[in-house]
């Protein structure tokens, strides 16, 4: 028996795993692939901004303020301080993506940890953690973000902190509910009966089955986060001038809508494209994972 088993080691038929199935379905989704391509393009643009951008994002000339699109040397016009719009839009991807995506990533880890702990351990820990989460969930997200960064004051770090606090509760809630459901399934009981420690059971049996739904949910929050992050800068919270950031650019160009309306609207279009791409990507992931909406 043992010899036969040894022989078989070499010639095991491996089935494709769950994630390779997800990737296969995902690759066949043209809309999601387009969204992914746009996002990758934006990320590359952000990384290589100094090499791509034609001009200096900070230096402007009062003589060439608010030029229209198509001006020679300034294809997308100039802003209210005479800085090149194209350059600033390219550089803007850096802070806008950073401010929009980072809070969701951090909240994904913190929220998952809270939710999985509450869901797996249950009992009083669940009550304490989830009631606290409920309090933050009781605020509309925009209001909470503005309240926190309004109190903390402007600045990139304060903006990131506020947004992270906003996104922890919804992620923790989802994580708690999927974990509670998984904990009751027999394979977790079987693992407990094998004498494995809680940590090992969570790592091997719980995590793999809950992380997918939580992840999809979190990707869906990125678009909200992007809009909110730029919204904070738009209100004068978050990123401070003269940094190029789409929301802040939209704010400083607000009064220019009577002079160069379409130049003034450009940063918002960037936010829109980024946000819709993340939404479509999230939808694609959701259907590739065969999760219900």
């Amino acid at each position: 028996m043992s010899a036969a088993a040894l022989d078989s080691l070499a010639t095991i038929e491996k089935s494709p795993g769950y994630w390779s199935g997800v990737m296969r379905r995902f690759r066949r989704d043209p809309v999601a692939m387009l969204a992914l391509a746009i996002i990758l393009g934006l990320v590359l643009m952000a990384i290589f901004a100094p090499w791509i951008a034609p001009n200096d994002p900070y230096r402007g000339q009062m003589l060439r303020r608010l030029r229209p699109m198509g001006t020679p040397g300034f294809p997308l016009g100039t802003d209210e301080l005479g800085r090149d719009m194209l350059t600033r839009l390219i550089y803007g991807a850096r802070l806008s993506l950073l401010m929009g995506v980072t809070p969701v990533i951090i909240a994904f880890f913190i929220g998952s940890a809270i939710g999985i702990a509450a869901g797996y351990v249950g009992g009083w820990l669940n009550t304490v953690l989830m009631r606290t989460v409920d309090v933050f969930f009781a605020f509309p997200s925009v209001l909470l973000a503005i309240a926190l960064s309004g109190a903390l004051g402007a600045g990139i770090f304060n903006g990131l902190l506020s947004l992270t606090i906003v996104f922890v509760p919804p992620i923790a809630r989802i994580a708690e509910s999927v974990t509670t459901a998984v904990r009751k399934i027999e394979y977790v009981e079987a693992a407990r009966a094998s004498g494995a420690s809680s940590f090992t059971i969570v790592r091997v049996h719980v995590l793999g089955n809950v992380i997918g739904p939580i992840f999809v949910y979190a990707t869906g929050l990125i678009s909200v986060s992007l809009i909110l992050a730029s919204g904070l800068s738009f209100l004068g919270l978050g990123v401070k001038p003269p940094e190029p950031e789409w929301g802040l650019m939209l704010n400083t160009l607000r009064n220019a809508i009577y002079v160069q309306p379409w130049v003034a609207a450009l940063p918002g279009a960037m936010i829109f494209i980024t946000s819709i791409s993340f939404n479509l990507l999230s939808d694609g992931l959701r259907s590739a994972m065969d999760l219900k909406a």
């Binding site: 009781a138 509309p140 809009i227 738009f234 919270l237 929301g247 003034a264 609207a265 279009a269």
Partner: protein
């Protein structure tokens, strides 16, 4: 039924308590001494010490919270630093304006959202569905403050049909339901309605698709029930959830109106918040946030109770 309402009420109390604690802490997480928010920057050390005593900032936090909560319950939200007027008075007017805007926006969003969602769910996978789904994904993806700007550019700057900002000739003091005033409401309300529209459309599409796939509908169709009858079934089954979503969206809009009110200089709570942030008027910030958050908590409660009345399944969940 009564037990459910009572349970829901009792569950709400600790949440409301928690919300009030978070609001209370807003002043204390602000960088620097909370005193700086009530004193001129050049106040003498002696004055600072006196004021610290008067405001009770020298006492333990929990005592401060107790005193603050007691005052708040009596309707005293403190005094605005910028205007020197009671926060409660500033809020009263603004809240009415925001409510008007949010209710109208929710209504538009709900009607359009139901329409798109219903069409999409009913003609699943047709081009109509694709179109409606596309519209709804735009609705949830568009930065609404930017959409507001774009609408202003089109309808105010280019076409000059509607005013770009404000609430009418006399500010918000002499609001009336005539064209002079109502035309100020159109752009912000339409802009704001995009958010609930996208979400309502998504929800209704999923609901309609789910109901249509259930066996009782197939049974009704087999019995020869016409589409009108099927339609009635769908509406009856989808209505409670759709209404609940609408109620919550109204709450989100109340809280989230700040960006749109800033774009349109609409004299509501959001505009007030914007001022509070700009002038670092912490009492005004705290009072506005508290009132809006409590409004949202109460709205949640009301929505849940109404939904449980309409849909007996909810109570079991």
């Amino acid at each position: 039924m009564l037990t459910y309402i009572a349970k829901r009420l009792i569950y709400t109390l600790p949440v409301a308590l928690g919300v009030s604690i978070v609001c209370f802490m807003l002043v204390h997480i602000a960088p620097g001494d909370p005193l700086t928010s009530v004193l001129p920057p050049d106040a003498s050390a002696q004055l600072q010490a006196e004021m610290r005593k008067i405001y009770g900032f020298d006492r333990p936090l929990i005592v401060q919270y107790g005193l603050w909560a007691l005052k708040t319950l009596q309707g005293d939200l403190g005094v605005s630093i910028a205007t020197g007027r009671p926060v409660a008075a500033e809020l009263g007017k603004a809240l009415g304006n925001t409510l008007m805007l949010a209710v109208l926006a929710t209504f538009i969003g709900f009607v359009l959202g139901c329409l798109f969602g219903f069409v999409a769910g009913y003609f699943q996978n047709s081009w109509l569905d694709k179109l409606a789904s596309f519209v709804s994904i735009i609705g949830v993806s568009v930065p609404h403050y930017w959409l507001g700007m774009v609408l202003v550019i089109i309808f105010s700057v280019q076409l000059n049909w509607l005013p770009a900002t404000g609430a009418g000739p006399g500010g918000s003091a002499d609001w009336a339901w005539d064209w002079v005033h109502v035309k100020h409401l159109i752009l912000p309300a339409v802009t704001m309605s995009v958010i609930p529209m996208g979400i309502v459309a998504r929800t209704v599409r999923a609901l309609v698709a789910d109901i249509l796939s259930q066996e009782f509908i197939t049974g009704q169709r087999a019995k020869g029930l016409l589409d009108g009858g099927v339609f009635r079934h769908v509406v009856k089954n989808a209505a409670p959830t759709a209404l609940a979503v609408m109620g919550l969206q109204l709450g989100y809009l109340l809280g989230g109106s700040i960006l749109i009110e800033t774009v349109f200089s609409w004299p509501g709570t959001g505009f007030l918040l914007g001022q509070a942030i700009f002038q670092r008027d912490l009492p005004l910030l705290q009072g506005t946030i508290l009132v809006l958050a409590m409004f949202f908590v109460a709205l949640n409660l009301v929505v849940d109770v109404i939904q449980s009345m309409l849909d007996p399944r909810v109570q079991r969940a």
